[in-house]
């Protein structure tokens, strides 16, 4: 309510009180019409008294009192309004806090759930990848072991097959320029003796 409206209300109240007092005066002194003049005189006297009582100063006094009372009410209401406003603001803040907190918690929960899902997916994917890698590693290891074993067997077979040539090669490289046939004669004659008969037969059959 504005200040103007409050003033109008106060004025209406004062007028209503005046009318009520006037009517009460008239009811207390019913028409004991002792005489028209007496009534008129009484009326005039009452009117004068009313005018004397509700003179300008008294009205001003009432107006001031009404203004003060109004200001007081206004102040109190403003205070109450301010308190209500503060309370409302506080409640609104709390509500907003709660709402924001709830929304944020919901969002964080969703976010955490999403993160958790993504993490699970990533872990699952990593585990699958690790499993595939491990499987491939095992297969590769087996292949490499097989190949190594095959190659080793082949090398050993090759070495055993050509062992005499290989050793002979190294002996030849080692003794190279120091071959002395005279020291080998015993060895040569031993073989010649062992194969003498075969040599004789071959020569007889060939000539």
């Amino acid at each position: 309510m504005t200040g103007g409206q409050i003033a109008i209300v106060v004025g209406l109240l004062v007028i209503a009180i005046a009318v009520f007092v006037f009517a009460l005066t008239r009811l207390k002194k019913p028409a004991q019409n002792t005489g028209k003049k007496a009534e008129e005189a009484l009326a005039n006297s009452a009117e004068q008294d009313a005018e004397r009582i509700f003179n300008d100063e008294f009205r001003e006094e009432l107006r001031n009192r009404g203004r003060l009372h109004f200001e007081k009410i206004i102040g109190e209401n403003a205070m109450f309004l301010q308190q209500d406003l503060r309370l409302t603001t506080s409640q609104l803040n709390d509500y907003m806090k709660e709402e924001i907190k709830r929304v944020l918690q919901d969002e964080f929960a969703k976010y955490e759930e999403s993160i958790s899902n993504a993490k699970d997916l990533a872990l699952d994917s990593i585990q699958k990848t690790q499993a595939v890698i491990e499987q491939q590693r095992v297969v590769l290891e087996k292949q490499m072991n097989d190949q190594a074993a095959t190659e080793k067997a082949r090398l050993i077979e090759h070495f055993e097959k050509n062992m005499a040539d290989i050793v002979n090669h190294y002996i030849l490289a080692a003794i190279g320029n120091e071959i002395d046939l005279s020291v080998q004669l015993d060895y040569i004659f031993q073989y010649l003796e062992e194969n003498k008969q075969a040599i004789i037969e071959d020569i007889r059959s060939g000539t």
């Binding site: 062992m163 002996i171 030849l172 060895y187 003498k196 040599i199 004789i200």
Partner: protein, 155 residues
């Protein structure tokens, strides 16, 4: 009677050379006789021919004996069994002498030898007869004893 071959007469080429030399010797001696040289001019002879004549006790001044020797040499040139010996290095004269003596004593007195080089043998020899090859090399020795060699290498 078998012709005795001196050690110095080792290969078929040697027989061919000495055969040719003896033939030339005979020709020259015949020519000298025809010229009525007095005394008869005898050309010089090689150590091989000298050794052959000495070994077989042939007097080269005797034309008939020379012709007989020539004939036997001719026969030997065609019939002498040849052995091919491969060595890792050039054999010394001493080694050759021992081998020839052994072959002529143990196998056949007419044997002649042809020498070859085969450095991969390393040690020993490879003997090739008309129809067969006898590998007496170290490589073959190792091959024959490869199980022992394998055991030795495993140890």
């Amino acid at each position: 009677m078998e012709l005795k071959l001196p050690i110095i007469l080792a290969s078929r080429q040697d027989i061919t050379h000495v055969h040719r030399e003896l033939r030339v010797f005979l020709d020259l001696v015949s020519q000298s006789i025809l010229r009525h040289d007095n005394p008869v001019q005898y050309p010089g002879i090689s150590a091989t021919l000298r050794a052959l004549a000495t070994e077989n006790q042939v007097d080269l001044r005797n034309e008939a004996a020379c012709k007989e020797l020539l004939g036997r040499l001719e026969k030997l040139k065609n019939e002498a069994p040849t052995l091919h010996l491969s060595f890792p290095i050039d054999p010394s004269a001493e080694v050759m002498k021992k081998l020839i003596v052994w072959f002529r004593q143990e196998i056949d007195p007419r044997i002649v030898i042809q020498i070859g080089l085969q450095p991969t043998i390393a040690a020993g020899i490879v003997l090739r007869t008309p129809n067969h090859q006898f590998d007496f090399s170290l490589r073959q020795h190792l091959y024959r004893n490869r199980e022992k060699l394998k055991e030795a290498l495993e140890v």
